[in-house]
């Protein structure tokens, strides 16, 4: 991905590779911060949802398939299974966690 025009116009002259490394580290820190707060009760849905998110790799598979590559077609197929399957199963699980009805009354 090319951020060059954006960076150039701001005059910051940032090295795009350095930017990538910085983003990697920042996201790692945010990840640690947010995910340590997920209660153990929800760890299984978290795992499934994380897998769906990691399957954002399909965006590159779309490109590969769009170039007419068979490798890309296979990658797009299994990547889409991950995205759709992951989000739907996480949703199915999370829908099961319900409040205590007796206490609400």
């Amino acid at each position: 991905m090319n951020l060059m025009p954006l960076i150039a116009s701001s005059g910051a002259g940032l090295d795009p590779i350095l930017t990538a490394v910085v983003l990697f580290v920042l996201a790692l820190i945010i990840g640690f911060e947010v995910i340590t707060k997920v209660p153990p009760m929800l760890h299984t849905p978290l795992v499934v949802a994380s897998h769906a998110m990691a399957s954002i790799m399909v965006v590159e598979a779309i490109r590969a398939a769009g170039h007419g590559s068979l490798l890309g077609l296979i990658a797009l197929f299994i990547g889409t299974v991950n995205v759709v399957g992951g989000y739907l199963i996480a949703d199915r699980m999370l829908a099961m966690f319900k409040k205590d009805k007796k206490k609400e009354k």
């Binding site: 991905m1 090319n2 060059m4 795009p16 983003l23 990697f24 996201a27 790692l28 945010i30 990840g31 947010v34 995910i35 209660p39 153990p40 009760m41 929800l42 760890h43 299984t44 849905p45 978290l46 795992v47 949802a49 994380s50 897998h51 769906a52 998110m53 990691a54 399957s55 954002i56 399909v58 598979a61 779309i62 490109r63 590969a64 398939a65 769009g66 170039h67 590559s69 490798l71 890309g72 077609l73 296979i74 990658a75 797009l76 197929f77 299994i78 889409t80 299974v81 991950n82 995205v83 759709v84 399957g85 989000y87 949703d91 999370l94 099961m96 966690f97 205590d100 009805k101 206490k103």
Partner: protein, 467 residues
């Protein structure tokens, strides 16, 4: 690539973070998952916008997208909640395969897809990472799936000189990686790296026993994240880099939690050393328990529950094996209807992956307020009238606190013996995964109900209704 695509990817990342944030409470978690799915949709739209002119083979895109969605939706609605660990293993193997396949495509089409500002060595280096991590995750997850599904033995299978072989394989990967960077068009080196990574994935996962699967599953998640980030570096796709890093963090945190809950060394696990320490001999069990175990009947248990105000249930994997969740919920309803406090104290490794037991109990509609963590559970056990242990063993073994010579010493446990009386439902006195006897079973305030969890709970419910 347009700046609008970059901006949309950033929105995706922000929505993913917001989604994870909402996942911190069961009240908002479902919304969080939806927010994250919207983020994913935006990323896909952004890709079509950004690469529109490049995309020529629409048949492939449509076939892959439509078939993949159909299969994904089919799997999601068919999978049994007990089989979630296997499902996660499948997702993980697919994630690894995507990374390896797209990485291979990238190097085959280097002239077309290499970002202009990335050097050849950086590009090829990241492709090596895609291929290497992706293949380990793929093969490792396939083996984990086969073990969880009991297609192959759950016992650890350790090749002679396992660690030495792994080190040799790693060194060879570095050598071939260096050669590939020097000659990016000699794909033989790439194929050799694939083969070595497949061997490593096989060797590391085969050596893991069934009981340690929660750790492997958690570790494989961070591999999935890392492979997404590596693929991001290949294409200099900042969106992928950030998401991969987020998911990698999630896997590492879960691995650390699992390692702690199972008394394993976190760094040892990261380096592929998941094999548990040598187990103690179990021949002395009979003598250990002889004459000291008090057996009880369903009627007596029903009576104890009748006079209890606070009951803490400690479920273990034996509960899920016996498929007794519905009976447990029925008993829960029976007890709470009379105004008793009933909680479920859930150990981090109760189940076959992090949080699995909570899902199994939520499935039978146990309200989430009643699902308690280890720490909360231990506080509630203090002053509880009855601790009801169903199909759990090692996670309530006081030796973890008392005897430095046992393999589980230092492992956090649920201190069932703090309750006024303890009822253990278990089929026999056979040891848990750690292979050691459990002194909880011979404590003065412990009674044992020897039966299958489903039958025992059914009998207790019937007896309770008669009272």
């Amino acid at each position: 690539m347009h700046d609008i695509t970059v901006a949309l990817y950033l929105i995706t990342v922000l929505l993913f973070i917001a989604g994870l944030k909402l996942l911190t409470s069961p009240r908002t978690a479902r919304m969080g998952n939806l927010v994250s799915a919207v983020g994913m949709t935006i990323a896909i739209i952004a890709t079509f916008l950004g690469y529109w002119s490049e995309l020529t083979s629409w048949t492939y895109i449509l076939i892959g997208g439509i078939l993949g969605s159909a299969v994904g939706a089919f799997l999601a609605y068919r999978v049994d909640m007990r089989d979630i660990p296997q499902f996660v293993a499948i997702l993980n193997s697919f994630g690894g395969a995507v990374s390896a396949l797209v990485g291979a495509w990238a190097i085959f089409n280097m002239d077309k897809v290499k970002p202009a500002f990335a050097s050849t060595s950086l590009f090829v280096g990241s492709v090596i990472a895609d291929a290497f991590i992706g293949t380990i995750a793929f093969i490792g997850s396939v083996i984990a799936f086969a073990k969880l599904q009991k297609l192959i033995t759950e016992r650890p299978v350790v090749l002679p000189m396992k660690n030495l072989l792994n080190v040799i394989a790693l060194v060879l990967v570095l050598v071939f990686g260096y050669l590939l960077i020097q000659n990016p068009h000699n794909y033989l080196y790439l194929y050799l790296i694939f083969a070595l990574a497949a061997f490593l994935g096989f060797n590391v996962t085969m050596a893991v026993g069934g009981a340690d699967m929660p750790v492997v599953i958690s570790l494989l998640i961070s591999y999935a994240g890392l492979s997404a980030a590596a693929l991001g570096f290949t294409f200099m796709n900042y969106g992928l880099i950030m998401v991969g890093s987020l998911v990698g963090a999630s896997g590492l945190i879960l691995t650390r939690i699992m390692a702690k809950a199972m008394n394993r060394d976190f760094w040892g696990i990261l380096l592929g050393n998941i094999t548990p320490p040598e187990m103690a001999a179990t021949s002395s069990d009979a003598a250990f328990y002889e004459g000291k175990v008090k057996s009880t009947s369903p009627d007596e248990v029903a009576m104890m529950l009748k006079y209890a105000d606070r009951i803490v249930v400690i479920p273990g994997y034996g509960l899920a094996v016996a498929q007794a969740q519905r009976e447990l919920k029925e008993l829960y309803d029976l007890l709470t209807r009379e105004g008793k406090e009933v909680y479920f104290a859930i150990h981090d490794v109760a189940g076959r992956m992090p949080g699995h037991m909570n899902v199994l109990l939520a499935e039978v509609e146990v309200p989430y307020e009643a699902l308690k963590t280890m720490d909360e559970g231990n506080q509630l056990l203090e002053g509880a009238d009855v601790a009801l242990v169903v199909g759990a063993n090692d996670v309530v073994n006081p030796l973890a606190k008392e005897d430095p010579s046992t393999p589980i010493y230092g492992m956090p446990i649920l201190e069932a013996d703090k309750a006024r009386s303890v009822v253990v439902i278990k089929r026999s006195l056979s040891p848990g995964f750690a292979g050691i006897p459990n002194p909880l079973f011979i404590r003065d305030n412990t009674v044992m109900l020897f039966d299958d969890a489903k039958k025992a709970l059914r009998a207790i419910i019937d007896a309770y209704k008669e009272l």
